[in-house]
């Protein structure tokens, strides 16, 4: 069953059709990557799913329920979580407190502290817990935000370019984190440019182009698709 589904999802910005009748389904337990050239409408699609933008038409279903008009924070409480493209962390607060704010919804006291410690371990941020989040390296900031996103115990995790600015080692470690989460049953939808990372994590790939679903399939099928190469991979291998 699909955990996330959009039907004829549509978004106009003035005269610009940024999301064009998108029918999309993310299956329960799947890791799915969204790719496409710049301006393809990937980030807008995320914002529609999160409720940051209201769609011009169509509907969004989460776990079979219509959430098209549901408030953002309400969607989060139902089990959707997100890691933004630019690390969205609380820069002036300490690393530990960043995680605490994400966790204090459902935990308190000793179990809260234990969960923070467990997450710090998982994120390889144990040594930095007392630092201000703003003083972390770029990769560590990305991890911290992934940590905040998974602290909510989401059923669906949205990752917007999770490896942007990471070293190859950091990228690979991030891929392992995503795989570990997926093994625990979290469904993942990621926007990503790094094809090695897509290859590492994705079970299926959707290509967006000018706001439309252009192609869909496994990474091998997508890479073999000459039309995709023409619009997207062509850019990279040119």
């Amino acid at each position: 069953m699909a955990i996330l589904q959009t039907r004829k999802l549509d978004k106009w910005f003035g005269g610009l059709h940024v999301t064009d009748n998108v029918d999309f389904a993310l299956e329960q337990g799947e890791v799915h990557c969204l790719i496409g050239p710049n301006g393809a409408g990937k980030s807008t699609f995320f914002k529609l799913v999160l409720g940051e933008h209201a769609p011009s038409g169509g509907e969004i279903l989460y776990d079979g329920e219509d959430i098209t008009r549901t408030k953002s924070y309400e969607r989060i409480r139902r089990g959707i979580s997100v890691k933004f493209q630019v690390p969205g962390i609380f820069q002036a607060l300490r690393v530990r407190q960043n995680l605490q704010i994400a966790l204090q919804h459902h935990l308190q006291g000793a179990s809260l502290d234990e969960e923070i410690d467990r997450l710090l371990e998982f994120l390889k941020l144990k040594d930095t817990e007392k630092q201000l989040a703003g003083s972390l390296s770029h990769g560590q900031k990305q991890w911290l935000e992934i940590g905040m996103a998974i602290a909510l115990k989401p059923r669906l995790l949205l990752l917007d370019e999770p490896t942007a600015g990471m070293t190859p080692d950091e990228t690979h470690a991030t891929g392992e984190m995503v795989q570990a989460l997926n093994a625990d049953g979290v469904s993942v939808l990621a926007v990503e440019h790094d094809m090695a990372f897509v290859r590492q994590i994705a079970q299926r790939v959707t290509v967006l182009h000018f706001g439309k679903v252009f192609a869909q399939g496994t990474i091998e099928e997508i890479v073999a698709d000459e039309r995709v190469a023409a619009i997207y991979l062509g850019e990279i291998h040119a």
């Binding site: 924070y73 989060i76 997100v82 933004f84 969205g88 962390i89 609380f90 607060l93 300490r94 994400a102």
Partner: protein, 358 residues
Amino acid sequence: MASRNLLTSTLGLLEGPQTLGKGVGFWSGFLVVLALACAYPLFADGYDVGNNVYFFNWAFMALGLSLIWGYGGALSFGQTAFFGVAGYAYGVLTINIGDAYGLTFVSLIAAVGLSALFAAVLGYFLFFGRISGVFLGIVTLSVTLVLERFMSQTAGPEWAIGSARLNGFNGMGGMPSLTIPWPGGDIVLYPDVTLYYLTLALLVIVYLALRMLVNSRFGNVLVAIRENPQRAEMLGYDIRRYQLGAFVVGSGLAGLSGVLYTAWGNYITPSSMGMSAAALPVVWVAVGGRSDLTTTLFGTLLVLAGFQYLTIYGSQYALVVMGFLLVVTILAAPSGIFITVGSLFSKGLRRRLARERS
């Protein structure tokens, strides 16, 4: 047992990530300062002590602005609106219902409640309308200026509520001081030693209560909103409610300042909601260091004292100096003088220690 746990965990919030100062050292210092404040009337003339209550009166508004702006990240430029509403409300109420049976305190609570209610209505439209940043400052400033204009034109006899004349530009006077009912004669709190202790006690209570508030889960979310509202919302928090909550509490404190000021001087004027009055709290809070309650409190008292000195002995330029101070603070010490001086000092100390070691 459970209640004891609750007590210790509540008191534990007196220290935390959102407040400077912890441990034996800080609290000893706190007690020393408190003891000095308590001892002050023993060494000073009652008249001076009563006059100096003036400084404490403003501190509540400053602490409230620290909560809204320093912790919540929403710059309200119109806290004087709530100051004025509560001050006038206290005047109207006490002139009509009198000062017997502790009714002045009922009026105090009603007036503060009214300013908080006003803040709740205004804040609802501001925060649920997603108004933020400079626009929030513009709207709140406009509100206080509109109130000032309105009250300034209430000079005629038709502008009266019950037996209380609003009195236009000249301001409203004749309201009673706070009065404690007492067997054998009510205690009237004229600007004197008793009022000093009462105001000091209120200030200590509010300061400690705010420390607990900002270190609570509520405070965690509040600073998260200041740092990154989008992220806070995408952690499942309805940030509008938190912003509104902080705005109502902070504005209620501005209201408390308004009542205390009005009861202290038996007088309030529309200019207390005017442009320069509205700008001053922003200066006090910014100069001291808005993102901490302690630096806000001391910064406010310090700047107020300096301002007072300039107005009395100096010149007509006190306001210009305040503006200059604000600009310098924002450019050179955006986190406030105490934190900036403190970090410079500790940097210097570290450098010296390093030099001595090598």
